[in-house]
Amino acid sequence: MHWDIVWNNFDYFLIGAYPEGPLGGMAMSILLALGGIFGAFWLGLLFGLMRLSKQKWIKWPAVVYIEIIRGTPLLMVIFWFYFLAPIVLGYTLPETSSALVAFIVFTSAYIAEIVRAGVIALPKGQTEAARGTGLSHYQTMVHVILPQSLRNMIPSFVNQFVSLTKDTSLAYIIGVNELMRTATQVNNRTLIAPTEIFITIAVLYFIICYVLTATSRRLEKQLSKYQARGN
């Protein structure tokens, strides 16, 4: 076994060539996942609420967006933004930015569905009570429905976050220097320790995801205290 190869390159796996060179490795994977989930949350919230609208011209663009994205492999979405951006924008987006945009767009479609399901799952009486006191649709959403349903959505959000963290590995295909790519680079250079290298990478991905799910379980417990009951 050649664990020394892993050991000698361990900081490269964690942070890439930083601080001498560009940031990479696991730090880059985490940054991509964080940026992706943050952007996807807001975009997904917007599309999810649009999807719930009774106005056709608000609802249908969201339906089309969600269905197209959900029916497309993530790798293809990454390629779209990487190869289409120069045509549309007139200049090349850096690999990292196009990957990030692809992650945001892709994940937001799933977040939109989570938001829709979460809002629908709340007892109808909550909306009726709020509208019954004269609150507008928007006020009802902001003050009554979303504070409750977003809490209920946390496990699904974390699930999506975990998924995205692992999916950031796909960015390696357009040359983003994230964890998967640092591993491939070291492996190509050394050639004799693929097993050790990829076991290490798997453990690193596992650690990130495990920390996320463990945190989510604790959050869930804390937040489950005050839930709406009944119909």
Partner: protein, 242 residues
């Protein structure tokens, strides 16, 4: 001019004719009790007044204004009509006091301090001042329903709608809610109450109507209704519940 007037009101759920030509007037300060078997349309009738349900034919007037026309500002209408539900429907994620103050602050633009002072006063009136900072789930059913009444009253409504307010309560909690409702009635609130609580109807109702199959079959002052119902179905119904 009547506070609330139903004029030839019809409503269908698909093929099901849930309200059949409802005509009814409730004067300012009057208490109307609506009873009848489940599925008779009584909840629907009440919920049409603040447009949680839409009617298909006819019209409903409030102080002479047609409130069922398309151009009606729903949020404004609803701010003038309080509603209390069978399942309380308190907001579980905020305190009892905030449940009461949310609408006055957001809809009427009342300042937070003013809304809280009024909220405490209302909670005092329904007898749960000390629970103001608890969450709804920490309260008993009867207490929760009293908070729901305070929440509705916080908008200073002209009319209060009660949709089976005691049906989801344990028997020992029914009276605490009914007492609040009776006080309200005596203070001159216009009320439309779907309820089977006959003690309430006897004490404070000005009129009782009995519905079945979407129609008003029997109506009159409570004494007349309880002692001398004309319709067979009303007789059978009274026998069941008394």
């Amino acid at each position: 001019m009547a506070m609330i007037e139903f004029r030839n009101v019809h409503k269908w759920y698909g093929d099901f004719h849930v309200l059949k030509n409802i005509n009814e007037e409730v004067e300012k300060g009057d208490v109307l009790v609506i009873c009848g078997p489940s599925g008779s349309g009584k909840s629907t009738m009440v919920r049409c007044v603040n447009r949680l349900e839409e009617i298909d034919k006819g019209a409903i007037f409030m102080e002479g204004r047609d409130i069922t026309k398309k151009t009606m500002n729903l949020n404004h209408l609803r701010s003038e009509i309080g509603i209390v539900f069978q399942q309380f429907n308190l907001y579980p994620h905020i305190s009892v006091l905030k449940n009461v103050t949310l609408a006055p602050i957001k809809v009427k633009g009342v300042s937070k301090a003013e809304a809280e002072a009024m909220g405490m006063e209302l909670l005092d009136r329904v007898g749960i001042r000390d629970q103001a900072h608890k969450y709804p789930i920490e309260l008993s059913g009867g207490q929760q329903q009293r908070v729901a009444i305070a929440r509705a009253l916080a908008m200073k409504p002209k009319v209060m709608l009660f949709d089976e307010p005691t049906s989801a309560l344990d028997p020992e909690m029914i009276n605490e809610v009914l007492n609040v409702m009776k006080d309200l009635a005596r203070e001159g609130m216009t009320m439309l109450c779907v309820t089977h609580e006959m003690s309430f109807a006897r004490e404070v109702a000005d009129r009782v109507i009995f519905m079945d199959g979407g129609e008003i079959l029997e109506q009159g002052p409570p004494e007349h209704f309880f002692t001398n119902p004309q319709h067979d179905r009303a007789k059978a119904f009274l026998k069941e519940i008394l």
